[in-house]
């Protein structure tokens, strides 16, 4: 009996090691593809180096010199972590090899990103000791259940119960309570008390980072920098100290500012489920089909942090309230019930940048975006935009299929 169990165990370990190898290969391959691009400049090297840190959280911890806190989604206020001296890291994973590892025993219709996460959490390198705590906002059904499945690797779990109705007083107040609970949790975990000046400094730092990130996005709108690179850079958010990260972006912006925008009539707006490195399949296919992603509102790309955390009341309560409200009400994730103004972002950006086509990316199993695409399609068509919904996974097999559809779509834009 023991022998069988032992054999099982060995097999599993071998599987994991193989998957880990494959994942590392996947990462290196994608990085080399990026490096081989024609619009590659030396300033991007820094970001490409950061990407591998996702697989080595221990190295990341050493790099930033602060305890790491694992996070999902974008509703937890990052400034709060920063002010308490901890470093938040998004645990969302885009690796296909890791997904395959866990796909064997997870439901087929589950969000591939979380399957990938669960798979990668089994790697030896990502031991639970790397993360001091894990914060899970209760956004979609899958992410709520992830800690249950990955309970060996998720340490010190804290749920942030996200009110799904955000435009009434009740929702605002409940979320503020959650932020206070988060603050208490982090204070207990770190053993330090939050100081008002620290929080203000963190908010300043993140605002400066946001300001520079906006400049990068401006370049993307003008088609000076490719959408692929901006998504890659956004994916490296929080893989280094924010000030250094922002400085490197500044270098990129300075380098590219003087370039002439390339004309491309086939500009598109990308919306929908997040695109996470190394799963840049869709972006690369879009480029192959002759279109450029000039704008997106992916939570892993342009919406990586909300910025604009303006406050009127500079007391500690006022700052926390500003953070809570900004991360809650400004978030246009489809998990929210009263999210009807989410369409305005797409309309506004496509209007002001002469973008006629919208591609809606839905991961198989991502229910919120799937359902949202119905009304979004109707409204966009009514407003004269071209709409295409692409439902895909992390698999590479459907690439040709998608490419054909994208090329057909590109024809309609011209």
């Amino acid at each position: 009996m023991n022998k069988i169990v032992q054999k099982d165990e060995e097999r599993r370990l071998r599987q994991r090691a193989k998957a880990y190898e494959k994942t590392c290969e996947e990462y290196s391959y994608e990085i080399s593809v990026l490096q081989a691009r024609t619009d590659y400049i030396a300033e991007f090297d820094y970001f490409l180096d950061l990407l591998t840190l996702l697989l080595h959280p221990a190295k990341l911890k050493e790099k930033v010199g602060r305890p790491l806190i694992g996070l999902f989604c974008i509703q937890a206020p990052l400034e709060l972590f920063h002010a308490l001296g901890v470093h938040p890291v998004k645990l969302c994973s885009g690796s296909y090899a890791a997904q395959r590892l866990s796909a064997a025993y997870l439901p087929a219709l589950m969000c591939p990103m979380l399957k990938s996460y669960i798979g990668s959490s089994e790697f030896a390198a990502s031991t639970s000791t790397c993360y001091d705590a894990t914060i899970v906002p209760t956004t979609c059904d899958w992410v709520v259940k992830v800690p249950e499945i990955a309970k060996e690797t998720i340490t010190n779990l804290h749920y942030l119960e996200l009110p799904h109705v955000k435009q009434n007083e009740k929702g605002v107040r409940r979320w503020l309570e959650e932020i206070y609970a988060l603050k208490l949790f982090l204070e207990q975990t770190t053993g330090t008390k939050l100081k008002r000046q620290d929080l203000m400094n963190s908010m300043n730092t993140f605002m400066r980072g946001w300001k520079i990130f906006q400049e990068l996005i401006e370049l993307k709108r003008k088609n000076i920098i490719s959408g692929v690179w901006v998504t890659v850079i956004a994916n490296t958010f929080m893989l280094d100290d924010i000030t250094s990260w922002a400085k490197k972006i500044e270098l990129v912006v300075k380098k590219l500012q003087s370039k002439q925008p390339a004309a491309n009539p086939r500009k598109i707006f990308l919306a929908g489920s997040p695109i996470i490195f190394p799963n840049l399949k869709l972006l690369q296919l879009i480029e192959q089909a002759g279109m450029t992603v000039c704008a997106d509102d992916l939570c892993s790309s342009e919406r990586i942090f909300p910025g604009a955390t303006v406050y009127d009341d500079p007391s500690e309560h006022g700052l926390l309230k500003a953070l809570a409200e900004r991360y809650h009400q400004a978030c246009i994730c489809p998990t929210f019930a009263d999210n009807e103004r989410r369409i305005n972002t797409i309309l506004r950006i496509t209007e002001s940048n002469n973008i006629t086509g919208v591609i809606f990316h839905v991961l198989k199993g991502c229910h919120p975006y799937d359902i949202e695409s119905l009304t979004i399609e109707a409204t966009l068509r009514a407003n004269g935009r071209k709409f295409l919904k692409i439902e895909t996974d992390y698999v590479k097999e459907d690439s040709q299929n998608i490419l054909t559809r994208l090329e057909a779509f590109a024809q309609t834009l011209a």
Partner: protein, 315 residues
């Protein structure tokens, strides 16, 4: 930054209205802000005093078409003209009593004390108070003239207005802090006046623009919203619903944030301080126009450049 400009103009206006009379300035008796006539040397009379003083007498019907009646109409027309020109800018940029409240709020912010918040329901319940005060303010002179109400009810609102004891302090006059024992009515009014003044000062310390929630001047200025040259508009199709405007608003207006269909968002409490416009991170979403000229429009670049860039506790 627009807020800094506003502070500068407010301070200048405070000095102008409080001390302007001493250098001979007199902007009339129809001023749509709290330029209190009880301040010796003021540069103009708050229209509320004119309204209370003239209103009752003008209704002697045989005299309605006389010179006296004409004067009442004249002052009213001047008031309407002034509100047409500047609308709520009188409240947010010019009113010296508003400036005083903002100084108190600044003091509170410097001390790091948090602002008192009202629940949305409570805040809604407080809105009718200004209409009640306005109604009393208009009815009382009529009651004095026709209903036999005691003459000491004259200038009813002025007697309870917190401006009456507080504003003359800036000209060195403490007379209105005294309790007037002449008769029961004067005593009641002076007691009320002092209680309201103390409550207002304290309220203004803990809550931004506390008195402005109850000010009867607001409905008077709001009356000319449709004909005013100033337009406060929102482009509902570019709003992402982030709520920055509601958070920054000193008088807790939800309308700018939650409005999804109408273009005009000048609500009854609005003071045109333009903080919502400054804080809006979407371009050209919240705009203040003067006729065809755009006074200020929201922009993402503005937010990125003006907020919390190196702010510290010392500011």
């Amino acid at each position: 930054m627009v807020d800094n400009l506003r502070l500068l103009i407010q301070n200048f206006m405070f000095v102008l209205w409080t001390y302007g009379g001493r250098i001979g300035l007199n902007f009339g008796y129809s001023i749509p802000c709290f330029s209190c006539p009880y301040v010796p040397g003021c540069a103009g009379h708050c229209y509320l005093m004119t309204l209370q003083g003239q209103w009752g007498f003008a209704f002697y019907f045989p005299e309605l078409l006389s010179y006296k009646g004409f004067k009442v109409v004249l002052y009213f027309l001047i008031f309407i003209l002034l509100t047409m020109l500047l609308s709520k800018l009188w409240c947010g940029w010019i009113c010296p009593f508003g400036t005083l409240q903002e100084w108190l709020a600044k003091l509170r912010k410097k001390l790091g004390i948090r602002e008192t918040e009202f629940s949305w329901k409570t805040r809604e319940r407080l809105k009718p108070v200004k209409y009640i005060l306005l109604a009393l303010l208009i009815i009382t002179p009529l009651l004095i003239t026709f209903g036999g109400l005691h003459r000491d009810f004259y200038l009813f609102f002025c007697q309870i207005c917190p401006g009456k004891p507080i504003m003359p302090l800036f000209a060195g006059q403490t007379r209105n802090f005294a309790l007037d024992f002449t008769n029961t009515i004067t005593l009641t009014f002076s007691v009320l006046s002092i209680i309201i003044a103390a409550g207002t000062l304290l309220g203004s310390f803990f809550k931004d623009r506390f008195f402005c929630m109850f000010c009867p001047m607001l409905p008077l200025i709001q009356m000319s919203k449709k004909i005013s040259f100033i337009r406060f508009e929102k482009s509902v199709h570019t709003c992402s619903g982030c709520g920055n405007c509601q958070r920054m608003c000193p008088v807790d207006i939800k309308d700018v944030h939650l409005e999804k269909t109408e273009k005009d968002v000048m609500s009854e409490d609005c003071m045109l301080c333009m903080r919502c416009s400054e804080a809006c991170p979407e371009d050209n979403t919240v705009t203040v126009n003067f006729l065809k000229y755009k006074l200020f429009s929201s922009s993402r670049k503005y937010v990125a450049e003006n907020y919390q860039q190196g702010k510290s506790l010392n500011e």
